[in-house]
Amino acid sequence: MRNTGSSKRRAITAAATLGALLAATSSMAGSRILGTGAVSAIEGAAGGGLSPWAVLSSTASDDEIGVTAAATRAWVDDYQLTVTGASVNLHDRMEFSIARQTFELSTLGGELEQDIYGAKVRLFGDVLYHPLGVWSAGVMHKRLVDGTVPTALGADDVNGTDTYLSASKLLFNAFLGRNVLLNATLRNTSANQGGLLGFGGDQGGHAWMAEGSVGVFVTPNWVVGTEYRQKPDNLSVADEEDWQSVYSAYFFNKHVSLTGAWLDLGDIAGLPSQRGGYLSLQAAF
């Protein structure tokens, strides 16, 4: 009874906050152009859904500070991933992010959790104005809350650190008069299934992985695209495959975006061909 009341109250508060954000004036937002802060990737950094991009979160520019919060859920055949995260953008130079991932093993039973602390620095450029786009380098430190299951599967570590180099570029008027967003990321990682199955294993450790995405801005508010993330395969008992998605992200304004995606995550922890849906709501200030 008490639970129903509090969850109802929470829902009302959330709806009221969302309503206020949708109605918020643009003077409260950063000055960068709508959409240039991307959305929140599942590891907390600004990016697509699966991969961090070179742009920094929110629309904060050189003399501004931006903050974002995001809630994400992905459903595939035998698992459910929930992510809550937040980030801060300092002067469009540094981005700090934090994310909590909860991975529910719907079929196998139990859940895995990890915290991800991220930092990204914009090295040079701009996604709109620079001929080479924007280039950033980042780091993600990941800590499993309970490493028992990953260790039992053969993972070497329960903590790990990814480093990455990323480039993003908007091509104006590139496809049927629409703007096209390109992103490429090179990531050095030992994380199994992003870290949820620990780090390293009997088949390998740190390695460079390639990630990329292409999106078309159908309108200035709406981008549709696809993303690909190469993955390591360190555990002989649990085959790991590359991830891919087809996404649609809608920016209601500079404060609220909603992303939907179709996911193909391949084999996860012995269960084959994990496919499903993805929804992510982001608020930015």
Binding site: G30, S31, R32, I33, S61, D62, D63, E64, D92, D126, L128, Y129, H130, P131, L171, F172, N173, L176, G177, R178, N179, T219, P220
Partner: protein, 153 residues
């Protein structure tokens, strides 16, 4: 018999190839005759003039940005910008004003100000009925000027 057949088929394929080339050449010409300059797709000089006026109203409402124009002759600026947009969009104009770096030197323009003016320009184009593809094309042609505008800040 076989030779004449070969000749016939050769001449037939020559005909087909000739027809193909002719068709391609014709469609090529047709494509060249279509009104494809950005200037025309924007709506010509009347639309460009309206966009410039609309942009100036938006700038006038922004206290921070308008302060950069304190010592400017607004009429001269408007005429110069209209010619530049006409030139950039392949219209019948030749911009001969100052280069972008000298025109903006030591004004103290920040990225935030630059972004705001880009937003005002896009909003002005929306309000004056410039189609999305033409807006994207125009913004794409202006985007590289960022480097010049910011060079001497």
């Amino acid at each position: 018999m076989r030779l004449s057949q070969t000749l016939k088929s050769t001449s037939r394929s020559t005909l087909v190839v000739g027809a193909l080339i002719g068709t391609l050449a014709l469609t090529g010409c047709a494509q060249h005759q279509q009104p494809t300059t950005l200037y025309e797709r924007m709506g010509g000089q009347p639309t460009i003039d309206a966009v410039v006026e609309n942009l100036l109203y938006r700038i006038a409402d922004d206290e921070e940005v308008v302060s950069y124009f304190a010592n400017s002759n607004i009429d001269l600026f408007a005429a110069s910008l209209a010619i530049q947009l006409c030139d950039v969009s392949d219209g019948p104009c030749q911009y001969d004003g100052p280069p972008m770096d000298r025109a903006h030197q030591t004004m103290g323009i920040t990225d935030a100000h630059f972004n705001r003016v880009v937003e005002y320009l896009d909003a002005a184009m929306v309000e004056e009925g410039v189609p999305l593809a033409a807006r994207n094309d125009m913004l794409g042609r202006l985007a590289p000027m960022y480097e010049d505008v910011m060079r001497l800040q």
